[in-house]
Symmetry: C2
Subunit: 230 residues, 2 copies
């Protein structure tokens, strides 16, 4: 819980595949304003960029207790030199990450609070579905409203109010870490959500075996003990 997968200004020695739990990459402003720029869910690779960044730009922290598979950067790189398929997969991960960032630049720049929240919920369920979690319209969303605010570029107070509205309009139910989407079509319509930007970004997972339905494990694992790439 709230442990770091990477701190800024450091060189990352390992990548992580999320097996269970949520992590977030963020950036801080001098006065404490925080923007979360990405959530990492089960199956996500965190973060391919570290392989070519000399130093980590944005820290990544666990939002929940977290279980990951850690992969040594040097090993990945040397293996990728010999295996074009792996390198292509890494490249594909970067591309998918950039597409997602791009979509959220759009959301943050041009959408209202309600649209952003609606979009977030649509995206989360869509991403979880491809990872074989969640029953489509409801899922675990183990985030505080502060976290949601920091991702959507709003304040916690405004998130609270907007969620209240969305609840009373029969769009969603959301309490104690569980999200239920009452009206999927309407939510997607309001969010202008299209999943066309979520393509790809799964090639790398073929190289690693991800435990099927893991129990929750106490969080950060010892770095330095890496499983073999397949």
């Amino acid at each position: 819980m709230h442990e770091y997968l990477a701190r800024p200004q450091q060189h990352a020695s390992a990548l992580h595949i999320v097996v269970e739990g949520w992590a977030a990459r963020y950036k801080l402003l001098f006065d404490g304003r925080r923007q979360i720029t990405r959530f990492y869910l089960r199956g996500d690779l965190c973060d391919p960029a570290w392989l070519s960044q000399s130093t980590v730009v944005q820290p990544v922290v666990a939002m929940t207790s977290l279980q990951t598979i850690s992969l040594n950067c040097d090993e990945i790189l040397s293996r990728a030199d010999r295996d074009p398929l792996l390198m292509t997969a890494l490249w594909e991960e970067s591309r998918a990450a950039a597409d997602m960032q791009s979509e959220w630049a759009f959301n943050l720049g041009r959408k209202t609070a309600r649209e952003r929240l609606a979009h977030l919920f649509c995206e989360i369920t869509a991403r979880l579905e491809t990872r074989e979690i969640s029953g489509g319209t409801n899922c675990e969303l183990p985030l505080s409203q502060k976290d949601i605010a920091d991702f959507t570029g709003l304040t916690p107070v405004h998130v609270s109010r907007t969620l209240k509205e969305m609840r009373s309009d029969g769009l969603i139910e959301f309490q104690s870490g569980t999200l239920k989407i009452a009206d999927v079509r309407e939510l997607a319509r309001e969010a202008s959500f299209k999943n066309d930007y979520l393509g790809g970004g799964s090639a790398f997972r073929d190289f690693v075996q991800i435990p099927a339905t893991p129990g929750i494990t106490p969080a950060s694992r010892p770095v330095g003990n890496y499983p073999r790439l397949r």
Copy 2:
């Protein structure tokens, strides 16, 4: 001028390296709201993502008259299969693009209008400097205030007002497409600008010869006539 390098829903057959002029990638909302998610300047590769996207998500349009070098996607891909250095360069481009997107998600989510504009100006001059254009504190900025607004997530009216303020505070001069930064240190301070997210993204250029100081050429070039990769 205002020609498309790529339209959405289509498959891109070529990438482009900008030699002269500005291009922008953007996304539209149903009611006309537009967010520009990236500017492409001299030397930028537009867009490596197309190599692995089945279909273009965000269109790219020329903001000025534009001269580019077009590169056939199939040729790049088949060449990359044989040349790990090229593939690494492409991957590095994707990574750099994602880093930039990330920074702007941060800017759009958490910075004020003035901070965003200040950041934009800092970033542009920083990027142009690495491309051997501009004298550091002044440069061509051939954008309308509407364009700037669409990139910074503001309205043209508010951009106009904020620029006026920044001018009267002696931070910048900006008129008829020319930007002069009067107080570089103060502008960077206000923007909380650090160029740590701008690393890399130049590896690919080593594979292509970019004309030195080209004259302005009438814009879009015939697609299908591609120069050789070096």
